[in-house]
Subunit: 200 residues, 2 copies
DNA sequence: ATACTCCGTTAACACTGTTATAAAATATAA
DNA sequence: TTATATTTTATAACAGTGTTAACGGAGTAT
């Protein structure tokens, strides 16, 4: 009875065909414009067949999210194994993480739910510049008082902001719960570390 | 001729009515489910009137983004002014930033294009746990070799990951450009600072 | 009173995810 | 081989979405 086997094989082929077509569409036009109908047209089948292989559109996206995390883990791990001492490992891993994010932007944006307001959108928001400016001034004073007054305050601002934004978004993703602001050891850990280093 | 003034006033009132209705809808059901038709129904006008006040849906969202950055700047600045020395200022500002993000999650998510995969979605991705586990193991070794072996590796992981994610997403938002991985002073700055502190 | 400019409407276009229903193709049993 | 049962595929619809063209009516200006 090779019939059942053939059917299973065909089912698997169809599944990967859907994923491959979807991926091509994403590479061409981004996540925002991906649609079930476009996938159906690409694989030259009608729309409902897709629903025989995936419960809904989110299931397709979830599949890619999984693939993304697999690949991220693999690349970071490889970078780690190329180094011997722990400090170099952590730095190499950070670099690998960064490389993954920008070499596979589509993956990264999906994995972390980044709608990505385009560069134009951001530049239109003058209010963002006020914010940057305000924080930079504080950092400038801190740097002036430190033992390394040549440090670039904009570099430090970028770092400071990134730490804050990273803390917030990772927290938002991992826990929906409302958090007591007075109980944030991670925030304390990261910020006090940053400040200590700034003043050293 | 008070007529022209009255018309201008009415136009302004309509504009704020649209924004207020939109805001209520967002508070009730989130950004994802906000639609022009729902706004129209809420203000008891037909759909096209909205297009007389805003070019399109994005223009409405942009308005809220602006408001968000204004409010964020204000709250962070107030927190800054309550402190005297720079270190306390930077820490208070970080706390204010954090508070803003979680007290006005809708604003924050819009401002940074966070689609926010829900907690359930994230938990379904087992691959995320592999990643976490892998990194935690490296941190555990680093902590064991440091002079503070009692430090929680999961706390440090959370910090490490947040720094990386923050760097990446801020970079993705502010510059569309493809970046040369060998030229990332901010990444160097943040990660080497983290590692130094970890080993101290 | 006539012409004209707004303001607001209805109705449509071109999409989206999802699904009920019907038909065609295939597999099984007689 | 024929007839029945099963699975696979397609058509067409539902309920939404953003956006806009076309039309009506009220208020203003000449």
């Amino acid at each position: 009875m090779g019939i059942a086997e053939r059917k299973l094989r065909q089912k698997e082929e169809m599944r990967t065909a859907i994923l491959e077509a979807a991926w091509q569409l994403v590479l061409a036009d981004g996540w925002q414009s991906l649609s079930i109908r476009k996938i159906a047209e690409a694989i030259e089948y009608s729309v409902p067949v897709i629903y025989h292989h995936f419960e809904n559109k989110d299931a397709i996206l979830l599949e890619f999210t999984r693939q993304g995390f697999q690949q991220l883990t693999q690349e970071v791990e490889e970078a780690c194994q190329k180094e011997s001492d722990v400090a170099s490992q952590l730095e190499a891993m950070a670099q690998a993480y960064w490389n993954f994010a920008f070499n596979h932007q589509e993956y990264y944006q999906l994995m972390f739910g980044l709608g990505i307001p385009t560069c134009e959108t951001v530049n239109r928001v003058a209010e963002m510049k006020s914010f940057s400016h305000m924080v930079v001034e504080v950092l400038r004073r801190a740097i002036a008082r430190s033992s390394h007054p040549e440090v670039d305050p904009w570099l430090k601002f970028h770092t400071y902001w990134s730490i804050l934004h990273g803390l917030v978004s990772i927290q938002m993703i991992s826990k929906q719960a409302i958090v007591d602001p007075r109980n944030q050891p991670v925030l304390q850990d990261a910020v006090s570390g940053f400040v200590k280093l700034l003043q050293s």
